[in-house]
Symmetry: D2
Subunit: 452 residues, 4 copies
């Protein structure tokens, strides 16, 4: 039997490849779909079906790209919407995979037409369920995607999905969700690689409510909604083919980079230290592992992208971008920042400061402003910083006017990497005298100096 | 400086990537062109020009595929012909690559418009010359491609190219040809990885003639001409784009394989022993390393191809086929011959026999026929087999009627792998009682038993 | 959190790497232990503890090799035995891995001192249990390792381990055993990649007995016991360091291969077809994927090993051998069988025949003997072959005298690969006129011709 | 034929693997010798001889390590010295490699007993010569290794080697030296990948002298001599086995890193920008590609090494260190500087400044000191900086007292990476107010602001 969970880091997305008897099914493939084809090939399986659990909003699904390479049939959940490709799934529909069987279970709550897929031996008891964005390890899917008006309705459906359909499958059943920790599709997904119905029944905080009203009242909430979600939703209805596969970008000389940068966005994926020390003017800082989570908030879709990175080969960054629909990467800075400076090009810098030095400065009575760019949730669990202004980094583009100009500003996040992201956004709008706190709140809490 | 020779095994084809100062040029790229893009990317170079030495006839050139990934400009030699893409090179034209310079030298003989490219420091003495199919290590390009009528004319041009243009460049100049040993573009290319003008002047047997007449009289000869050459020539004028890159094939179950085999050719790339023991009926045997050299002789272009191989991943075989324009590989036998036999499918076998056993049989006075499928050249250098019928394996499709039916036939080649290829062709036409001699003439010569 | 299950194919062995907060633990490492070091390194964890579930008998454990690379502490289960390295685990002992905790649970039955390890958040409910060779997916560990005398006693302990210690952990707990399907440590491990206490409680046939007596009476049985088990047990008490890591073997010319073969065993890992067509005299056939399971039955430990394979690089085969303690691989046949035959060396062949041809021969009234080398268990589930002599392939060395000499013998197994293994053993003892049935019983059952 | 040139980056070292007919020879292997074994294995060759061109002084030769994996015989040049392993080569000695032959040519000048090896067909004319450290592309080997007293004598020998032994081999002969551009073994090796006797005769500036006196007078010069040379020379006489191969290092938490750093050296291989922004106090900065060239100048051999890097896997850095005899890498900072700051550990910073900002500061009349750490040779070819103090970075440890304390100091090199290396050395000795000029002299020269 072939069973593989493929993780797309950053998106915290899980897709699944299940095969038996020479035939295989992929659930929720990602767009750079070579991995499924290769794994099927090596194990002698033919991919015949692609099952989607729902119309995704946080990444472009690879169904069309994978179907064009394999001839597999695409099956849609959320069939109430208008797809340009594939076929609709019906509640209770089954697919045979050799001696195994997958069965669709209508599981609304995150989206109205979400499907879970139950895996069992044909005629036998269930042993796994692919829950998409309904049930996660330690969390449930967000219920706010149709807007605040319909959130209560969706939460009611989610309650029924969870308590009347999924939990009754049995404590022993293994739960295979579409996301792991870090996803924007659930607020607090636990850092557990594998889970079961019973582990969730006992440990998942969202499953500890006795009745529907309490569940709806306590669990449903409006979460941040990246601007790119609409784009993904649209792309997932139209089908996001990838006609040329992943194209390696071209190296650009500093001079050519500058020429192309007039019309493009510059994305710098180095860590906060290198970016702080020197970066191409106008560059946005998103450290490499953060690209999947944050590019959709800050990068427009109507401009090409130029990359600055530490890597010899930025192909991995291209993967992250392609999963979000950013297909037009015009090139990267050949030779990195070293070649930039050797060519005598102007770079900018943003200050970085350790918590110890900050302590000293604060003790010296310096005038300052503190900007905290962590999420609401982090503030709740990690504690607030007294005197700090709080704007979650993803809200910065729309709330930037609230940040005072002309004052020295110390920026905090959990570790420093998002602070640099925020600083790069502020710098693009003319802010100066910005300092990123290295180690962020984590570093601060490891030392003795209190902010008061 | 970036200087890479990329070898395409089987084709014995050399292409070159030369870069300096952030800019790079590729000479004679192959069609699966990812390697140039990756090497340029890792070293921070941008590929801006693609230079062709001539219109190739033995493989599809990757100029269009590479240009579509890089935006590079394509430059044609043989500009007298009608290309659908790219721009013509003129004799003496130069290209700058940072401080380096490439200069075109008209070098007719193999084709009328062949160009060599001389590499030097701008304003300095030459240090390398890319000779395409004019001068090889130990050989010169074949002069028979325009037909017997014009062979003498072409040989005269080749003489002038060699003696009046290339040799005068200086003994110290490094020679970078388009082919290494094993190519069908020269008859006797030496097994030397690197060579120079001076090494060729001294050692190349074709350069030991004093005057043009002797050269023409002795060097020009008609060589085997695979039927796919015409296809390659046509493709190389039209441009052989590869819109989807290399697609991994699908695994097929034995039953599905049989269904698809009705309209497809079955290509089995295992070694002679496995093929002899059991193979899918109608399969053609071409061992993996021989695909580049022999597929063009035996596989039609109007049918899809099904693969049988020992590999988990037949992608390498796909590369070989795509270089020859066989883009339609419909799938491969998942699980290999083991799954075939477990499914109870019928297989055929072809006898294999060691030279020792053959010896015993011959001594016993058995009646038999011997078929020798080596090339003329091999017969000359290795010696003939008395009493054997000689048909070069590539001529077998057109001369098969000459092979007697109804007699036990022992087949010889150099080692046994081409004998099995021949046997598979004969079997498809109804021949039976065929035996492949393991080790072939090499094995025979290592033992004491004489054929008399 | 770092959680990785590392599978050693062939052995069907699972080891586990669990990390959190920069610290990691490995459970039951394999001997070629580079994979743990690399995975820990890439995720920024330091391996500090190595936990053994029991003294293994089916492979050499990599604790000493891994400790020498990491400085980790080794903890032994089965501490009643006399180890030359490491420290004993006590029932109830705990280890912290960041916020996680592992707790030892005495789990006798397979061995007297086996330990399971329970994983939970410190102070929280369990979420995973590493069961070693006590509980598998669909099976339980064998209880016959201390001999028939003590089997009943061990089975009683196993009952208590399963019903009183493991099942009460809760249906929802994920079960991580030391073996997957194909292991010699359980007779019928299911082909399920992941399982839970509840899935086993419901589906595992060995857990369907109501009381201890019935369990003992029905579940305990003597299984085949490879001769190398003693060697592994001894090695696992002494510690199997691997001072030079994995050494790549040397290519040998046919002449040198013959010279070294005088004192060595020749192991040919090609598939049954290639081996049948031609092989080095005296070679034993074990197809590559069978090496882990069968080398221990047939290869002595006091002679070096020479390899024949289809691979360019036999390093993967070396891994399989090193895991079983075969460290002395003297070389491999450079250029494979093709170079052997080109050098005119003598090879042997063993007949292969499809079920269709066998059918025809049987119909023709040929005199013959049938040898069936499948296991008892396969006979039960797949059915017997009328008139066949049955000797499980692993018993062939000790029961070979029972096979009649001088008669044409057709050999059956499930698919053909073990039949060729059996044929190679028989051939070494002078048997002739042997035929391997391609596809074996699977092929036979796919066709219409009955053996009667 | 097997012919591979293996390049060890950083050392700019070339070794060679030559094989034919199943037998192979390695010339000047490096210490992490797995690459030769693997390449021989894949091409079916057995490594039987290891030839050294001379006793190396710039890296530890891998002869003993390679011989222990292959059983090959080691042959020493410089046999006048006292080796603890291997056998001495004699002038004119030959080795057969299938149909090829290697012949030793005594080639003193760099060392007294250096040997070149001439490759030809047995009985034929030469086609390649492996020149070790005598003749390079565009340079000749340094002649100062025996000290100033004997430099003239060695230069005389070098003249005879070059003009009486190597040049007469013929313009067409391909030259395979032991080093490419960037080596410390020649001062000005050209950036040409391949060369010939004739190209050197015409273009090599050191070969343009008419007689021995002029050659000696003009070519011989004392060059920088890293302190580790003595260590390498000693190691190369004793034999530098590598009993455990390359061991992957362990991740260390910040706290553990600090504990171990008390007795170890901290080597930070990030680029200048990240190091400047924040680094572990006491760390030495050597950017990754500079480790091979500079570690030997600054790292002691009697302390273990701790690594800080941007890489997930620092194994490549380990390779560089092992080639120089630094076998004791105690670990690396798990999670990099981000984990350091999150743990609230103190870091230091060193200022970086663009040439534009420097310009502005200088225009503002700031008091400052300029330190130029380029080599003498760079000053000659690139021009001096007026008012700058010049100390080559490798001389800084012995000449640090000359650098004034208490003044703002701007540090220049070619690009900035060596300036940061210098700054880290100064910082360790208590210097403050240091600024590294980004882009260095290259950047300066690309802009309009003159230093005056």
């Amino acid at each position: 039997m072939l069973f593989e969970r493929i993780e797309s880091k950053g998106l915290a997305h899980y897709s699944y490849l299940i095969g038996n008897g020479g035939q295989a099914v992929v659930i929720d493939p990602r767009r750079d779909c070579d991995i499924y084809v290769e794994k099927a090939l090596r194990s002698g399986h033919r991919i015949t079906h692609i099952l989607e659990t729902h119309r995704n909003e946080d990444y472009l699904i690879g169904s069309v790209a994978l179907a064009s390479r394999t001839g597999a049939t695409i099956w849609h959940a959320d069939a109430q919407w208008d797809y340009r490709y594939g076929q609709p799934v019906e509640d209770g529909q089954t697919w045979d995979v050799g001696p195994l069987q997958l069965e669709a279970i209508h599981s609304p709550g995150h989206t109205p037409g979400m499907m879970s897929y139950l895996l069992r031996d044909r005629g036998g008891a269930p042993w796994m369920v692919f829950t998409g964005d309904s049930l996660f390890a330690g969390d449930v899917g967000r219920m706010d995607l149709l807007g605040e008006d319909r959130m209560e309705e969706m939460a009611g459906q989610m309650y029924e999905t969870l308590f009347e359909k999924l939990l009754p499958l049995g404590d022993e059943v293994i739960v295979c969700p579409a996301h792991g920790p870090g996803s924007v599709c659930g607020s607090a997904i636990a850092d557990r690689a594998w889970t079961t119905i019973g582990l969730e029944r006992k440990h998942n905080p969202e499953l500890q409510f006795d009745d529907k009203e309490t569940f709806v009242a306590n669990v449903a909430q409006m979460l941040d909604r990246p601007p790119y979600f609409r784009r993904m939703e649209k792309g997932n209805l139209e089908g996001a083919s990838l006609p040329n596969g992943l194209l390696a970008p071209q190296a650009l000389s500093p001079t050519e980079f500058i020429r192309q940068a007039e019309k493009a966005m510059v994305l710098d994926t180095r860590m906060e230290l290198g970016f702080g020390a020197a970066h191409v003017p106008t560059a946005i800082s998103i450290w490499e592992d953060g690209v999947s989570s944050f590019a959709g908030w800050f990068l427009p879709y109507d401009r090409s992208i130029l990359l600055v990175s530490d890597r010899d080969d930025p192909t991995q960054i291209m993967r992250y971008l392609v999963r979000l629909g950013y297909d037009d990467v015009a090139g990267y800075l050949g030779g990195g920042m070293l070649s930039w400076h050797k060519a005598g090009k102007i770079s900018h810098s943003i200050g970085t400061i350790t918590v110890h030095n900050l302590c000293d400065r604060l003790d010296a009575g310096e005038d300052f402003h503190i900007l905290d760019v962590r999420s609401d949730e982090e503030l709740e669990t990690q504690g607030e910083i007294p005197t700090a202004q709080h704007i979650h980094v993803v809200d910065l583009p729309t709330r930037m006017d609230e940040v005072p100009r002309g004052r020295r500003t110390y920026i905090f996040c959990g570790s420093g990497v998002r602070s640099m992201m925020a600083a790069s956004l502020l710098e693009r709008q003319g802010y100066t005298d910005l300092f990123v706190i290295l180690g962020g709140v984590a570093g601060w809490n490891s030392t003795a100096c209190p902010i008061s």
